[in-house]
């Protein structure tokens, strides 16, 4: 019997928004979500969720974070034994921000910056969060700058409304198809989800 719902396990609010959008695009609903407790938590739970996936499909989205590893390596180190086919553990290269910026046109419009400021291969940006903040500094919209860029002297790496701002972008404007044409890692995730219906 094919199911059109999955359990969602992600690190934070932003990955949540991105995942919802991706699953919506594939016509998959979310029947249950786990708490947002960061990457370490997902790593700890991956093994159990691999078991859970025997009963219900599980979509987990995490981030690669550093160029020192490749996604298959990360997946192998998280799951001992075989990966259940219904366990969709996906790794954003490098971060989920890379996927967001991969909709170059949409994101450039959102920030009001020229499109050429965003590289053609967003997966290759080594520190996407920092890069995104540096893009926001160029924005002509003062409000967006205040939201995304940390205040001088702040200990946080991002501005006070970074997450909600990007969350809104993802929910309202983010074009998955355009983004997938730029980000290979996103494209693969979408392709992998084609097998969802065959379950």
């Amino acid at each position: 019997m094919s199911r059109t719902t999955a359990i969602l396990a992600v690190e934070d609010k932003l990955s949540e928004a991105v995942s919802i959008k991706i699953l919506e695009d594939r016509g998959i609903g979310i029947s249950q979500q786990l708490v947002l407790k960061g990457k370490g938590y997902l790593e700890k739970k991956a093994q159990s969720l691999n078991q859970t996936a025997k009963a219900i499909p599980v979509f987990m989205l995490t981030e690669l974070d550093s160029p020192g590893q490749c996604p298959p390596q990360l997946v192998r180190s998280w799951i001992k034994g075989g990966q259940n086919p219904k366990f969709f553990l996906r790794v954003a290269v490098m971060e989920v921000e890379s996927w967001i910026m991969a909709d170059r046109k949409g994101f450039a419009d959102f920030l009001s910056i020229p499109i050429h400021r965003i590289p053609r291969n967003t997966d290759a940006i080594p520190q996407p969060k920092e890069f995104l903040v540096s893009l926001a500094r160029l924005s002509k919209k003062a409000r967006l700058r205040e939201d995304i860029v940390p205040a001088p002297g702040a200990t946080s790496q991002v501005g006070p409304r970074y997450n909600s701002c990007l969350w809104e972008f993802v929910r309202v404007r983010w074009n998955i198809q355009l983004a997938a044409s730029v980000s290979r890692s996103l494209k693969r995730t979408l392709e992998r989800l084609r097998t969802f219906d065959a379950m």
């Binding site: 359990i7 609010k13 928004a17 029947s31 249950q32 979500q33 786990l34 708490v35 947002l36 407790k37 739970k45 159990s48 969720l49 078991q51 859970t52 009963a55 219900i56 409304r161 997450n163 909600s164 701002c165 969350w167 809104e168």
Partner: protein, 409 residues
């Protein structure tokens, strides 16, 4: 309570007689509700320890209010159906807005020795409002079962002849409820606690303006004062031990009376760099200390149903994470059933909480739905793979668009 309460007490053995003298050792093992406030329909089993979770305004307090309502009907002083309804702003305030076709409100509770045990008592009542005249609320039915045997079925012939009789329940009338006095006692003993530290702290200045049954703990000190000295001492020493874990600098907790006004007070000795400077009265305790104090005392106080409203407020997450096991260890000695409404991740991220101990409230267009968490397939599977209730159930109660809060302009 004196013995000779009729059949209800006779069923218990002599061994139980002493404890029964003080309390009614039963739990609500099942609850059915129709058209109560924001619930169109509830039909759930309850356990000794039951957590109620749901988004804001999903009706957690309204669910607890079912039991307060029954208490208000049954209580000996100023109780009764009419008063209980009036205190809630009339039947139209109580009735679910989703109740369009069928305007009847119905409540049915089953009492048993424990979760999953055979029913000892079942009490059911139905309410409607007169469509003309005084628009008084009246009973559509009132039924009592002892075990499987029905011992009351109203409306009876007399009720039909004298409609006024239906404006009162038998629960509130001593001369007609002898046969099921045990149920009456059970409802009367229901305790609700939502301690508001400010109200307790300024109890003296607010002077006596106590809400009936003191839901917010203003009269908490009076309750402490009422206990006999030996009991009070032993309870306070347990409370002190537990408090000391949360507030390490607390050395000693004592009950006193003000030399002039005679008002009861609690005072605590804190270890302090200045000797003799450490005694503080409750008005100087922190919010967290006061709430914890009230909570601990209530848990030790009696064996009757205890309703706790968000016990996590103003407490440190480390302490909150110990509340669930604490309630359960307290239940080893006193089998007090505890219904807890909560939003707390820390409280629910405790391995020992069973999916059957959690009621999940989900608002829908047709009123709020109530489900036992373990009965939801995804939840059950995840709990069985080792996730905790906090990890699995709480995300279901989060508003999906909470982010928009920070985008408000």
């Amino acid at each position: 309570m004196l013995q000779g309460d009729g059949n209800g007490s006779k069923r218990r053995s002599l061994k139980d007689a002493e404890t029964f003298f003080w309390s009614v050792h039963m739990i609500v093992s099942h609850l059915s509700v129709k058209n109560w406030r924001n619930f169109q329909h509830i039909d759930v089993d309850l356990r000794e320890r039951q957590f109620i979770v749901g988004a804001n305004a999903s009706g957690k307090s309204n669910l607890l209010d079912v039991f307060r309502f029954l208490r208000d009907i049954a209580k000996p002083e100023g109780g009764g159906l009419q008063k209980a309804v009036k205190d809630r702003g009339g039947l139209s305030k109580i009735r679910s807005l989703a109740a369009r076709r069928d305007p009847e409100i119905a409540i049915e509770v089953t009492l048993a020795d424990g979760a999953g045990e055979p029913p000892i008592w079942r009490y059911a009542l139905g309410l409607r409002q007169e469509t003309r005249g005084y628009r008084q609320p009246y009973l559509t039915h009132e039924r009592v079962w002892q075990g499987k045997k029905q011992i009351l079925d109203r409306p009876k012939k007399e009720d039909k002849e004298d409609r006024d009789r239906l404006t009162q329940t038998f629960l509130e009338q001593i001369n007609v409820n002898v046969e099921f006095r045990e149920i009456v006692r059970f409802f009367q003993a229901v305790t609700y606690l939502h301690l508001v530290p400010q109200l307790l702290r300024f109890a003296d200045s607010i002077q006596g303006r106590l809400l009936e049954d003191d839901p917010f703990g203003q009269g908490f000190l009076e309750r402490v004062a009422k206990a006999n000295e030996k009991t009070r001492r032993s309870r306070l020493s347990m409370v002190q031990k537990a408090l000391k874990i949360a507030v390490p600098q607390l050395e000693q907790l004592e009950f006193t009376r003000d030399g002039v006004t005679g008002r009861p007070h609690l005072q605590a000795l804190y270890s302090h760099w200045r000797p003799n400077a450490g005694w503080q009265r409750e008005d100087q305790f922190s919010d967290g200390t006061l709430r914890l104090l009230g909570l601990l005392w209530s848990l030790l106080e009696s064996d009757s149903l205890l309703l706790l409203e968000e016990p996590e407020l103003s407490l440190n997450a480390g302490i909150v994470s110990q509340l669930a096991p604490f309630i359960s260890s307290m239940q080893r000695n006193r089998r007090r059933q505890v219904l807890v409404s909560t939003h707390s991740d820390a409280l629910l991220t405790e391995r020992g909480i069973d999916g059957r101990e959690v009621l999940l409230l989900t608002p829908t267009k047709e009123g709020t739905e109530v489900k036992v968490a373990a009965d939801i397939e995804e939840v059950r599977i995840l709990l069985e793979s080792g996730f905790t209730v906090g990890e699995v159930v709480l995300p279901r109660t989060k508003p999906s668009d909470a982010e928009q809060l920070s985008l408000l302009k």
